[in-house]
Every structure is written in structure tokens, then in C-alpha cells.
Symmetry: C2
Subunit: 350 residues, 2 copies
Amino acid sequence: MSESKNKFNKDMPSARRNQASGATLIDVAKVAGVSPITVSRALNRPDQVSEKAREKVRRAVEQVGYIPNMLAGGLASRQSKLVAIFVPTIAHPIFAEMVQALMDELSRAGYQAILGLTGYQKETEETLFNTILGRRPDGIVLTGTQHSELMRRRLIASGIPVVEAWDLCDDPIDMLVGFSHEQVGREVARHLYAKGYRRFAVVTAEDARGMRRYHALLDELHHLGIDDVPTAFIPPPSSLNAGREKVCELLDAGHRPEVVVCSSDTVAQGVLAEAASRGWTVPKDLAVMGFGELSNASQVYPSLSSVRLDGDRVGGQIAQALLERFKNPDAEIAPLRIDTGFTIVDREST
Amino acid sequence: MSESKNKFNKDMPSARRNQASGATLIDVAKVAGVSPITVSRALNRPDQVSEKAREKVRRAVEQVGYIPNMLAGGLASRQSKLVAIFVPTIAHPIFAEMVQALMDELSRAGYQAILGLTGYQKETEETLFNTILGRRPDGIVLTGTQHSELMRRRLIASGIPVVEAWDLCDDPIDMLVGFSHEQVGREVARHLYAKGYRRFAVVTAEDARGMRRYHALLDELHHLGIDDVPTAFIPPPSSLNAGREKVCELLDAGHRPEVVVCSSDTVAQGVLAEAASRGWTVPKDLAVMGFGELSNASQVYPSLSSVRLDGDRVGGQIAQALLERFKNPDAEIAPLRIDTGFTIVDREST
DNA sequence: AATGAAAATGATTGCGCTATCATAATTATG
DNA sequence: CATAATTATGATAGCGCAATCATTTTCATT
């Protein structure tokens, strides 16, 4: 026994509607004394309209407080001016930094971003993905290069420009901006080995890219003759406390590594905290290697050795790649692959 | 039925279009053997459609890989299912946390967020604002309560539900979720005074809310008989290094405060770093008070006293308030004002 | 002036979807 | 069984804008 849904007030629906939705292109056109399409052009392609008309339109827009409806515009033009950005989380500084840079750059070009937080969960990614595709983004930014076959196919079929970020691989969906996690693992191994460390341990988050670095590290250590690398895994999201607990487990299990390689600076700071609480001297009693170069890595005591990535730069490069593609959609799609690199920063903790 | 008006003719525009844009509601309807509007209902109001039809639609959607075009849907229904979130930056953990919680909650209800980064700059806020209003969001989340008169008027006129966050004031635009920055300033003053501190100094960022806390702090100290409070201001964005430099300036100018009150934990950690580098013992030689409770506040050495806010909770409350309003748009608009409070956390640094 | 090219403006149509009203199919009621 | 009440489905008409093509105005050139 539900009450029948009543309709809008018959009184003056149009007035009510206009109050809520604001002025339309047609309202502006009337005030300006030109046709609607001229208003549209004055706003979107000013160079196709005479200075006189442009001025009339500008004044009319001002007067009625017109704000273009981008839902309508997007529908008509098939250009949403929207870029979808998928990241695991923005609570992590490195992603926050990238997103910020990316959005800055995009907004300068009149684009906006819509964020998809995949939360490290494979489960929801596809659902999220569908929802966001519903906004018909002009471009898509993905974190990592490991996606379900279905998603890959759909993305390729859609023809939407895609950038896969934070990683490099051999069969990208489209564009690629990142660095090789394998290379990080290998270089960290060699770097620490060269410094004389022989007994390694690892505390790593169980996310895909972290594991890639981990396996490359193991592999390289193996080549260097080191095979026993006690490891503790942290289920995402990793935190300082998790790092502390996990390294504690390793140590309590009787392992006595010279150096602990961590999947992030956050985890590494947990290890530092545990070392401090045991009264150990870093790096003499235990060396610690981070990853990601949090802004305070150089300020904690002892300052943390880490692998520096540049979120700003990655974001900027992605934006550039997308904007280039938007500007020139018909151009031959040259496979774009940008290696943003990384730097091992040696500080007091190793 | 004869085809009265033909849509696209000639070569293959329809095929091309479908490849790019994907299947439409009509395609699904054809496959399912029902009318388009039934497909729409099966997707958006499943309870109004028979189980049989629902199943046919589900299968057809699956088969053609249909993803609803929310631009079209939004235009027709006047519901964008979009919430605009304005924050100064997401590079700051406290905002990142709020945004994450807010987005989580919203997406659960089928809404998505579009982010506006105001970057602490008054200049661009209005421009940004117009661009984002173009997306016709169903709700708007604002940081702070200080906005231009024009924006206030437009927002109120638009009838869009608005939440102002991170602050409380007496004449909100609409809903309000936050805490009193004045109260923080006063309580921090009293708290430190009660602990015996008499010589205060301040290092604060120059943003609006930080200044409100600062003035309340000064005011309360004045009541307690303390009038000389040397202060250094940091132009946004504040950073650990900026905090360190600024406190250095204060000390080099000959001030010898017992306690430094900082506008953020980041700044406070800069002060800690400077104290450490001078070989001072905290809190004996210099006490430090933070704000915002970064996740590592309790882990730095010495652990940092701070004011704890709960970004998760703020985000959640905002989402609830908005969703409630969406569900019940015609309800009497009860002035909503949620005080999320704060907690002074006393640790080793004071 | 005459002519054509270019620039500026306009009329029409439909983007893909949902609100609205109308109708058909089902169930409840006496 | 007829009738009313209740579903379930469909037809139609826009939402506000830009693509497309048609038309008018302006300007340069002969």
C-alpha cells in the first residue's frame, strides 16, 4: 500500500526546474540576441566567432550566471573531458602526489579527474571499473600492469587512451609510464651486497608490485650466492606498526639478518622503531632499507636509506601523454613507453 | 511499424560508433526482446520489473557488454550521482583519509566523487568551482566555512545539498560537519598552561583554519596572563623543512620558549628535528605540540604530543549526511551540525 | 563593380537515457 | 464472473548541448 508517486507540481515546472538547474545555453542566447549554437561556439571555439558576438555572449553569460552543463555537452560531443584515475589508495603519499600532479596538469587543459580507489582488492576492481566507465572518460590511468583479461579486452576494444603507471611491462594495453620493479629489486640487492651485507631479511607487503621487487631481489641475491632470505609478508594495507610486528616475528624466530629490506618506507620505519626499542644501533646491529622515499625519510633518526620515486614527475608525464593523445587522436599510435626511473638513496640506516 | 526517421545511414558510422561508445540501452533491449524503458527499469528500479524480464535483461547486458552511459542518464534524470569534494590538497594525510572514507561510503551507495583541489589558493577556487558545477553534482563537500559571497549565494540558489567540513560556524550554507578550531586553540593553551609551561612560541601555517586556532590560542594565553608569544608564519604548503627553518629563525632571534605550538605534526617534526640537531632534550629544553595526529606521531622519537582528529569519521559523517539528504530530498531541511570533536594526546614531547 | 573565397552565423537533428503518461497483463475483491 | 485494484510494460517526448550541413555576411582580388 504505497502511496502513488506524485508528479511534479503542475504550477510552473519550468521555473522550478530552471531555478534548480540554472540557466541554459538557450537562455544565454536569448539575452545575447544570437542563436544558441553561436553561444556554444563562443564558449568552446572562440576563434570561430566574431569579437562582437563573443562580447555579447560573455556579457549574457555573466548576467544569467550560466554554467555549461557538461553532461549534456559530453553526451552531444562524445567528449566527457574526464579522465579516470585508478589507484589502490590515495592515503599513500606516493599516489597522492601523483594524483595531485596529474590533476593539476589535466585541469590546466580543461580536463577533470574521476578517482577510482581499487583498495588493493582484486574483487571490486571490475565493478568499480564498470561504474567509472559509465562516465565515458576520455582517458584512463591505471596503476600497475596486471589486470584481468576481460578488462584488458574491454579497454582495448573501447579505444579509450590508457596509461598504465608505476610499472613497465612488455605487453601494455596502450601507453606506459613507470619503472621496472624488477630492476629495483636487482639494484637494491647489488647495492647492499656491494656495501658488504650478506645476511638479508625482507619485510614486504603482499601487493603485486612489491612481490615483483621481492622476487627480483631474491633472484639477484641467488646469483650472488645468497639463498637463505627469511621473509615476513604483510597483508595490505601496510603500516608502520605492521612492519614493526613482522620484523619482530622474524627476529623472535631466531633470524639474525644484517640488513632488512622493506617494501616501503612506512614499513621500514616500523623496523627502525623495533630496532630502537631493542636498543640496537642502526646500521651496525641492523641495517634497514626502505622504498618510496617518504618526505620524512631523510628526517627520521637515523635517516632512512630508500629508493626514491618521483610521483610528481610520473603524474606530469602521464598527463602529458594523455593530453598529447587527446590533441591528436588520429595520429599513428606510436607505442609510448616512458621509464621514469628511480634512485637509490644511501643514508644512515645502511 | 515503419522506420519514420532514420538515424544514421551510409557507410558504417553506426558500427564505428558502437565500437567506440559501446552498446546502448536499445541494443540491450533488442537482444532481450523487451522495450528500452524496461531495460532502464530493470537496471535502476529492479523492483518494478518482473523477475522474468529482469533475467532476460541481465543476460542481454552480459552478452553485449553494456555499460550504462551516465552522461545520458544524468541528463535525462537530472541526477548525476556525483558528489563534488573540494579540499585544499590530497597530499595531506588528514584530507586523504577523509576523502578515502567519504568515497568509500559514497560508492557503496552508487555515487562517485569528483575532486576539486583548491590548493590553498583563493584565486582559482571560483574557476574550479564553476568547472565542477558543470558536472551538475548532486552534492557538494567544502573544506572550511570561508567562501566568497558570490559562491555562497550561488550555492544556496542552486539548491544542491552542501556540507562544509573541518569547521563549525554560525551561518553555514547548509550542513556542517567539523570541530571548532577556536576550541582547539583554547584547549591547547589551557592544557599546556596546566602542565606548567609559561613561555610559548608558535610556528603556524598561514591558512585560514590554522590562523583561527592561533588567534584563539593567543586569546586564551592572554587571559592566563601571557602576552608575549613569538610567532613564525609558514606560507603554505607547510613542510617538515619549513617548520625546521622557521623555528630556527625564532631561536636565532633570541627567543627561548619552553614550548613550541605547531600548526601541524609535519611542522612539529621539523621542530623536533631542529631540537635534536642542537642537542636539546625534548621536552626538558624544548617542548613541542603538534596538530592533526599523523599516523607516525606516536612512533617518532620522542613521540609527539598532538591533537587527534579523525578523518575517517569526518568522511563517514559527511557521507551519511549527504546520503540521508539524497534519500529524502523533500524532507524539512533540519539544520544539521555535527561536532566531530578532537582529542589532545599527551606524549613525550610535552 | 563583379566574383569567388573565406568567415560568421544559423536551422536541424540526435547523443542515450529517463520522466511521464498510457495501456496491457495480472491479481484481488465482492 | 465481472469489476476494480494492482502490477508490469510500452510509447512518446524531451534533458541541454554540439555535429553537421546550409546559409548569410564579409572581405580580397580582379
